[in-house]
C-alpha cells in the first residue's frame, strides 16, 4: 500500500532544457512533503507571503526563465506523469450518529500523521435537520399532528499541501475503511503555474513597477491569502441559496 516512491519527491532545481544539455545533476535532493511545506511556507498560519515583499519573489531567475512550460516542475519518479499539487483538500463526512463521525475523524488524523500530511484543522459545521409534520390520525383530526426530524451531523477534515500521489493513496485507504452509514465528499484545490503568455506580460510590466506598486500588490495578495482557508460558515446551507459549498474564489 505505501510505496516509497510516493513518499519521495524528486525536485529538479534546474529547468528541463539544462538537464537535457548537462545531464542529470549529481546531487538530487529528495523531499518528503513535510520538507516541501517548510520550504514554501515559513509562517505557520498563512500559506505563503504574509509579510514578505512580492518583488523579492519575482526577481528570481526561475521566473524569468520561461522557455518551457515544464521548467522547474516537481517530477515524480515516472517522468511521463507530472505530479498534481494540491494547496488544500477538504474531506466532508456526513452521518446520522455523531460519535461514529468523531471516531472516524481520529482515524483519519492518525492516518494523515503516518503519511506526513499536515492537518490544517477540523471543522464542525452545524447539523442539518430535515423536519416533517404529519397528521397523527389516519382520518380527520387535522389539528393534531406529529413532528419528526432527521439529523445529519457533519465534520470537515482540512489537509494542507499534498501531492497527487499522496492524496490518491490517502484517500483510497480512508475510503476502504469508511464506517457504514457515512457519506464522504472531497474538495480539492489545485496549484498551477501561471500560464506562459501571462508570465511574459508580467516580465514586461516588471520594469515599470515602482516601490509603491510593489507594496500595493503584496498587500492585496496577503488579503486574498487570508480568505483561502475554509471555515465552518462555508459549509452552511440555506433553503434560499442551497449552496453546498460556497467556494473560495482564488
Amino acid at each position: 500500500m505505501f510505496d516509497s516512491k510516493i513518499m519521495a519527491v524528486i525536485h529538479y532545481g534546474r529547468s528541463f532544457n539544462t538537464i537535457i544539455r548537462r545531464g542529470i545533476p549529481k546531487f538530487i535532493s529528495i523531499y518528503t512533503p513535510k520538507n516541501v511545506i517548510e520550504a514554501v511556507s515559513k509562517n505557520e498560519s498563512n500559506y505563503f507571503l504574509s509579510n514578505g515583499n512580492l518583488k523579492s519573489y519575482f526577481s528570481t531567475s526561475s521566473f524569468l526563465l520561461n522557455t518551457s512550460s515544464d521548467s522547474s516542475a516537481i517530477i515524480a519518479e515516472n517522468p511521463d506523469e507530472q505530479e498534481v499539487l494540491y494547496r488544500a483538500i477538504d474531506i466532508l463526512i456526513k452521518g446520522h450518529e455523531k460519535p461514529v463521525l468523531e471516531s472516524y475523524i481520529t482515524f483519519m488524523k492518525s492516518a494523515a500523521e503516518h503519511l506526513d500530511i499536515t492537518v490544517d484543522g477540523v471543522l464542525h459545521p452545524k447539523f442539518i435537520a430535515d423536519r416533517m409534520t404529519l397528521l397523527k390520525s389516519k382520518h380527520i383530526y387535522k389539528k393534531h399532528r406529529v413532528q419528526y426530524e432527521m439529523r445529519t451531523h457533519r465534520e470537515v477534515l482540512q489537509l494542507k499541501y499534498l501531492t497527487g500521489s499522496t492524496a490518491k493513496v490517502y484517500l483510497e485507504y480512508i475510503q476502504r475503511n469508511i464506517p457504514a452509514g457515512v457519506a464522504m465528499h472531497v474538495h480539492k484545490w489545485e496549484i498551477n503555474r501561471i500560464p506562459e503568455h501571462i508570465r511574459q506580460e508580467m516580465v514586461k510590466n516588471m520594469e515599470n513597477m515602482t516601490e509603491e506598486d510593489w507594496k500595493k500588490e503584496s498587500e492585496n495578495l496577503a488579503k486574498l491569502q487570508g480568505e483561502k482557508r475554509t471555515v465552518a460558515k462555508d459549509y452552511q446551507e440555506f433553503d434560499t441559496t442551497k449552496r453546498f459549498l460556497v467556494g473560495i474564489v482564488m
Partner: protein
Amino acid sequence: MNFFSKYCFQKLFVTLRTKNVPNRCFHVTPMCAKATAGRYKLSKMNNKPLTYDQAFKPNMIGVTKGWQSSHTGHLHDEDGAYERMYEDRFIRRFMDGTFHRLIPSGPVIKRRCNMIEVVAPSYTPRKLDALPFLVSYSERMLSAVLKCNVKIYIHIVYKEDIEYKYI
C-alpha cells in the same frame, strides 16, 4: 379449447373489463401511526420474549436504541433511500424464510461501498451442519439479486443473553 388460448381469452377479458371502469379510490393523507408503531401485544401468561431492540419504543431510537440498517440514503442531499428500503425489506424477508424461527430479532444490515454486511444472532438450530450451507446459499442468492457483495454473519447465542424482556 386449448389451455393456452383459454388463458389468453380470460386475460383479454380481464383487461377489457378493468380498462373502462373508473378508478375510484379513497384518498388519504400520509399517516404516521405514532401510537401503534413498534409496539407488541401483551400475552396472557407473560411468556412472549422481546429482544433489547424490540423492548424499547421507537421514540428511543438514537437514545437507548440503535439503527438496524445503516446506509447513506436518508442523509441530507443524498439519494437512494427508496432503493435501500426496498433492498432491506427483501433481505429481511429472505433471512426470515431461510433461517426460519432461528433469528429472534431483525438482522442488522450495514452497507459500505458495494458491500452489504448482514449480522444476526440466532438460537441453536436443530441441524447444526446445515447452518454453513444456509449461510453460503443465502449469500450467493442475495448477491445475485442485489448485485452487491453480501456477507452474512450468524452468531449462535443462548436464550438468556438475547431475551431482554417478557411481555
